[in-house]
Symmetry: D2
Subunit: 155 residues, 4 copies
């Protein structure tokens, strides 16, 4: 039932997207562990947030704002990978997070999947995992306002 | 990254779940096309809503309430399949729907996946498709309050 | 803290909006009780869904799809009241519902409030009540794609 | 239509809740501006997040994770104020945020309102504002799992 091939292939490599982010958005790593793009495949970004004391909450679990940031960043990476530099102007318009389990502090992994990229809006879902644990830790759906089509170019 | 095997296997067959629903909830088919369970696999229910004039909106697209009903029903089926009859007392506590594309009237298909079944709450995501169209039509996340554990039995 | 006056005054009366809906969208009343606009005030629409057997669920409560429909309709009324006829082309893009209490079948009341009307997107929250009961029954937030500005006219 | 009096009065004062938080959760202020409870009234908490460079995003706006943190904190304060110390064990289970406008960096203000406090779950909505600006900046709905009733005492 799921299409065999995402209609949203990646035009940029992880290194390309990393370069765009380091140029325009270098402070993204502040306040949590470093964010690293692991892979970009058709319609999907897979991102790691390195464990860091700043993201630990009382009870020894990962803070909600850190998970929010990772999910938001992973979608942004997927949009950049698909749209190229024009995607830098994408803006988060909504985010729904379901917190499923309370992970012990560890590297956090996010898999963002583009489920729609329209003329004005992109929609993605994100699964969050903790390194070394099979169960999903949080599930997110986000919507993003896209820049006007004339900036996006040949998409 | 996704676990190879869902931690939420199905204990009931589609015929078992259909029998429970027809006994306790026969009016579910009213007001839209008939709802039919296609498959139940580990952690997932795949359900069809037959096309029906009552679910068509102006402009010739499928109504939001019909999509809401299908998504909600598909999760309910997954919960029943996993928990057995005790799941009849599950109650929808929240639902987030993203409407992605406006399908022409057709059979609608829902794939509900259980992403958490805890002691008190179940969480699922649902992808909605229209027959004959590859793109996802709507994406849903729902949360359900479960009956007390002593009713659920050996889960 | 809340602004004393909504930035989204109503340009149409309840009778005007009712006429638009009856002309373009008469089947909205099918499958639930009749929908009636009670008041339109700055940024707000107050709508009643008359009790009807079709919206009763097992256990004698109001069905989720009926509540979805009422909430969605109430926002649509608010958008029409504020934008005028151009608002007919508004399309629901997302809806988050929290179900708080299970009301006995009764007239349902919705108060939709516009919290943003931008160039491309409107956002509203909706409180649902059951006639004769003080507690809120459900809470909803919805987003709507608006028609292009040139159609909306002097807004 | 809104009940004249919230069914969720505050049992603790702002100073009481502040003392609980400073004892159990002192690191909450890290990474953003200081969080201060302004008022607690029936069913509502009003909280300020002082402006801080760490919460500024490129383009000179307030970061999404900072807004998430403020909204989540404001609900937590409302739950503590209503339930007392037993509320310390409340856990965020879901959060839906709509980002409405991009505020220039400033103190951020949150008004959290309890719309349901059940035996197992609390639901709240939150309006976020920027100091000196009338329009709402973001709107949030959150759900929280509550500790078992025997810990909550005379509620």
């Amino acid at each position: 039932m799921t299409p065999l091939r995402s209609p949203y292939p990646m035009r940029l490599s992880p290194a390309d997207v990393t370069a765009l982010i380091e140029e325009h958005f270098p402070q993204v790593h502040d306040g949590t562990g470093r964010l690293v793009i692991e892979t970009l495949t058709d319609g999907q970004a897979f991102v790691r947030m390195h464990a860091d004391l700043a993201m630990v909450r009382p009870g020894g679990t990962v803070s909600g704002p850190a998970m929010f940031k990772l999910a938001d960043f992973a979608v942004y990476v997927a949009i950049l990978g698909h749209l190229g530099g024009a995607g830098l102007q994408a803006v988060t318009t909504s985010m729904t997070m379901n917190f499923l389990r309370r992970p012990a502090p560890a590297d956090m992994l996010a898999r963002a999947r583009l489920i729609k990229v329209g003329r004005r809006l992109a929609v993605a879902d994100v699964e969050l995992y903790a390194e070394g644990r099979a169960d999903m830790v949080a599930h997110t759906t986000g919507t993003y306002a896209l820049p006007p089509a004339e900036l996006v170019g040949g998409i």
